[in-house]
Amino acid sequence: MRRIWMILALTILLAAGMGTPNALASGPSCKGISCRGIWPESTNCAGTHAHTVQGAHYANGNWGRIYVELRYSGYCVSNWSRVSVVRTQYWNGWPNYLYAYAHEQWNNYTQDYGRSYSPYLGVGAALHTRMVDGYDIVQACGGMKNYAYSGWYDPWSCYEG
């Protein structure tokens, strides 16, 4: 009888440990301030349940047009910034650098990310930042420029929300 109880207990333990991956997910990978500085893709915050909650289609400048998004995960209560290139144009060269940053307004904490593209940026190029605390008011910014020549009217755009 004792052996039967042991087998039953082991079976229950195994069943609990071998469920589907989704059943294993006990909750968000991080929440609020604990998401700070973590890439969304290394967590379960950036899936199809994440949303763009603010955007502007006509962020123009000398190098063309970009689309900046304020991204939000309600599951993790985190924000991040994503930028993509809509159009490029020649102006003292071609744009070759894309960047984004997300700034917690009250806590004064920033995550930024940028990268060079060689020989230049193409339409559809996109990148995003690490996450910041989604309980704070977050400013999400993005832009593109020519690494050797940056001017006031580079296309950039920021959102606070």
Binding site: V53, A59, G74, G124, E160
Partner: protein, 327 residues
């Protein structure tokens, strides 16, 4: 004066000097005076409808000639008694967009949309606190509008509906239109609106620019297929309408965003078949990632998706288009 009182006064003066040096003395200062070394703010549009308000202003960063970006701002609507009616410090209730102003070096153009019950509590003042460009949260200037926001509701647009799209509220500020609308979407997913306002001859005279989801952080808002949104239409840069032109039709198209990562179940159901159909199954567009808890997801690498992959996913990303006749 006793030695004790002298020490007290000295300590008080020291504290005031320290606060002034830190810039805190500028908080709450009800003045519209621009400091010589601070940003200069110029109010443009101050308008409200029953359920939202729009504040548009320019900030000239004369001393920061090299692309300072947008310094964070605080926008507050006040009533006649100085009571706060709406504030950008309430997450999800206000959205500010900022971008450089063309042909005006060192000037950043801001616009804030705030939601609130302005039908019962009309705003009479607007206060904007703006930080130094390179020192967010440091020294701020506070500006108070000299004029009251205008009630600019477009009554004839309110309540217009076509199928799953309904205009809740709208306002016009010069040649720019703002509205709050709701759309029943195919699901509660991550959707982005685009669209235009057309003239009677079908020309897209205005294009959808800024959009936002009010109270996106409130429970139920993003988990519902009924999506309410604030949107701004600006004159079409390619076909600007005449100053007396009026829109006759609104068209809004929704597109599903491709997230940074797609859960395996969703990927296998919606994405993999489309990639296979386009002979892109072996494309390295998505990286397979296994999270510590065993969950598998397919992630877009930094850099973005190739154009042919984005095109192949169109059947999954395309959303509804609704046209609404405007009186």
């Amino acid at each position: 004066m006793s030695r004790k009182s002298g020490l007290r006064i000295f300590a008080l003066l020291l504290a005031v000097a320290a606060l002034a040096a830190a810039g805190w003395w500028q908080f709450g200062r009800p003045a519209s005076v621009a400091e010589a070394q601070g940003p200069r703010l110029r109010f443009q549009t101050l308008a409200y409808s029953d359920t939202f308000a729009v504040v548009v202003f320019d900030v000239d960063y004369a001393r920061s000639a090299h692309n300072p970006g947008c310094a964070p701002t605080d926008v507050t609507l006040l009533d006649a008694d100085g009571k706060v009616l709406a504030s950008s410090r309430q997450k999800g209730a206000a959205f500010t967009q900022c971008a450089p102003r063309e042909n005006q070096p060192t000037t950043a153009h801001y616009q804030t949309m705030l939601v609130g019950d302005f039908a019962h509590h009309p705003p009479t003042k607007v206060q904007v606190a703006v930080a130094e460009a390179q020192r967010p949260n440091a020294v701020r200037d506070v500006y108070l509008s000299a004029r009251a926001p205008q009630h600019a509701t477009l009554d004839k647009w309110r309540g217009l509906q076509n199928g799953r799209l309904k205009i809740k509220d709208a306002l016009r500020a010069g040649q720019v239109f703002y509205l709050q609308a709701c759309q029943k979407l195919p699901d509660a997913g991550d959707w982005t609106p685009s669209g235009n306002l057309r003239l009677a001859d079908g020309t897209p005279g205005w294009v959808l620019n800024v959009w936002a989801v009010p109270y996106y952080n409130a429970p139920g808002v993003l988990t519902s297929a009924q999506r309410c949104f604030l949107v701004q239409f600006i004159p079409n840069p390619d076909h600007a309408p005449g100053t007396r032109a009026t829109p006759a039709q609104m068209q809004i198209t929704w597109q599903r965003n491709i997230p940074e990562c797609i859960e395996d179940a969703v990927f296998q159901k919606h994405v993999a078949p489309l990639l296979a159909k386009a002979n892109l199954s072996k494309s390295p567009a998505f990286h397979k990632i296994t999270l510590p808890d065993g969950e598998v997801q397919w992630c877009v690498p930094q850099g973005g998706l190739p154009a042919n992959v984005r095109k192949a996913l169109t059947p999954w990303t395309a959303g509804p288009t609704t046209t609404l006749a405007l009186p």
